[in-house]
């Protein structure tokens, strides 16, 4: 690691004040930050430890939703009885990620801030526009089996690694953020961004802003939802493709649908066009296949990841089928 100053924030205001300095990073669980600092990918001058701020609770909201504290641990969130009963898709997504130890450390806010697992981002001896803007993209024309099929750019084909975020995207969560200019809310779909020609920016967070909570709307799709993760081993691996699928079904007809994918794009990939196409249709394999076709209409493969397109199509159909069946295997 590069040398840094360490400061533990006692109050949110202190954290925000300290975090506005350039070169400052917030640390909570640290699971991704220290990994990247040891790899010399991230080099903050100052670490502001926010892990002891009182942002670790999970609370009911007046509208019937749930507020997940940014510092609530992933494990505590997944095992929270309200999350389990009202947002089972979210619980499943969290438990599909990382390992029990990491889920005990990692926070909800930190999960949103995870960086990509792209090989080239991690290896400082190789080009990467995300790590070193302007150095090129090693993955394009390189090794890209795990890379994006949707929303990529000529600058970057990295994917977002989170499971939790895919479920949050499908649930249309809201991110609560506090910064030097006060508090604001960000719709989940607007929190992460596509690479474009500035892949160094993963999110729309402004310097000095800190995530304080994630609000879940009342609709949790508890009866008909699932999270399906496809990976190279049975556990403790990042998704090749994952699907968060949620349906509101009335007598065999889909009233509302939510569909988001992980492992395929620079951000959790929610497709509202596919969701709209599902609404009002019968919950049948044909309907699901049509939705999958919409999601993957503009998918583009690189040398090694063409399989992801077919895999994503099948995974979408499988996830929607399982969601419709109310099956939680």
């Amino acid at each position: 690691m590069r040398p840094f100053r360490y400061a533990r924030a006692a109050h949110l205001d202190d954290a925000i004040a300290a975090g506005s300095e350039s070169g400052t990073a917030f640390v909570a669980g640290g699971t991704n930050l220290f990994d990247l600092m040891k790899a010399d990918v991230l080099r903050p001058d100052t670490l502001v430890d926010v892990s002891r701020l009182p942002l670790d609770t999970i609370d009911d909201t007046p509208d019937g939703g749930l507020r997940l504290g940014a510092l609530a641990r992933n494990a505590d969130t997944a095992y929270d009885p309200r999350v389990q009963s009202r947002y089972p898709m979210l619980a499943r997504a969290i438990l599909a990620g990382a390992s029990p130890q990491l889920r005990n450390m990692a926070t909800n806010g930190g999960n949103l801030m995870q960086r990509t697992r792209c090989y080239y981002f991690y290896d400082t001896a190789t080009p990467c526009n995300k790590r070193a803007p302007g150095s090129g993209c090693g993955a394009i024309g390189g090794v890209n089996r795990i890379h994006a099929i949707l929303g990529a750019s000529p600058s970057c084909i990295a994917v977002h690694p989170s499971d939790l975020c895919v479920a949050l995207a499908a649930l249309a969560a809201t991110v609560r953020v506090t910064g030097p200019d006060g508090e604001r809310t960000v719709p989940f779909a607007a929190f992460h961004r596509l690479p474009g020609d500035t892949p160094e920016r993963d999110t729309t967070l402004e310097p000095g802003e800190l995530i304080t909570a994630i609000d879940l709307p009342p609709q949790g799709f508890a009866a008909h939802s699932t999270y399906l993760k496809v990976r190279d081993r049975a556990s403790y691996a990042f998704a090749l493709v994952s699907v968060a699928a949620a349906l509101d079904i009335d007598g065999g007809t889909i009233r509302e649908a939510r569909l988001a994918l992980g492992g395929v794009a620079h951000k959790p990939w929610r497709d509202s066009g596919a969701e709209a196409a599902l609404a009002g249709k019968p919950a049948t394999p044909a309907t699901f296949a049509e939705a999958a076709g919409i999601v993957l209409r503009d998918a583009r493969a690189h040398d090694h990841n063409a399989f992801k397109i077919g895999l994503a199509r099948r995974a979408i159909v499988r996830a929607l089928t399982e969601a419709a069946g109310g099956k939680h295997p």
Partner: protein, 175 residues
């Protein structure tokens, strides 16, 4: 012999700070640079080398310890961030000469070969028992998947944990 002198001097390593932890029941105060991971603090500053470094990046679980009773990867946190907390390492599992039931079971089930991942497996298993989420062998497998064993002692590890879970269920005592 450098090719060319560099204009700027590099930043010096951070100055040591005092960190107090309760380690295996005893309060320990260390003077360590803030960039010291909990893992290095245990291994290098407290000579508690039972906690292993298998990757230093949270990808193997060999460094698993219990902090306030919960299992974490000691490589991915700073010792200074754990100020005031209680850390249990593999050296703290036994009560004197009496091994922890998991330690006994690991020997009985030959749940180890080279032994390098074993302390992490044991602390992880202790965390798993405390969490109380595992019901079946498949649950154990999934919830122990954050601990890689390259020797492939997994069947023994599952058997060992299952035997302790069964005994506790029979005896009715809490973990």
């Amino acid at each position: 012999m450098p090719d060319s002198p560099r204009s700027t001097r590099p930043a010096p390593p951070p100055e040591p700070v005092a960190v107090t932890l309760t380690v295996n029941g005893a309060e320990r105060t260390l003077k360590i640079a803030p960039w010291t991971s909990l893992l290095d603090a245990l291994r290098l500053h407290l000579d508690l080398t039972g906690t292993k470094k298998g990757c230093d990046h949270g990808q193997c679980g060999a460094c698993t310890v219990l902090v306030d009773g919960r299992r974490i990867n000691a490589c991915l946190t700073l010792a200074v961030m754990q100020e005031g907390r209680s850390v249990t390492t593999v050296e703290g599992l036994a009560r004197g000469d009496a091994l922890h039931p998991l330690q006994e079971a690991f020997i009985a089930c030959d749940a180890l070969q080279c032994g390098y991942c074993t302390p992490g497996q044991l602390c992880s298993a202790a965390g798993l028992l405390a969490e109380g989420k595992a019901r079946s062998d498949d649950d154990i497998r999934e919830l122990m998947s954050g601990n890689i064993c390259r020797c492939g002692a997994y069947p023994g590890i599952v058997a060992a944990i299952r035997s302790v879970m069964n005994r506790r269920a029979t005896d009715g005592d809490a973990p």
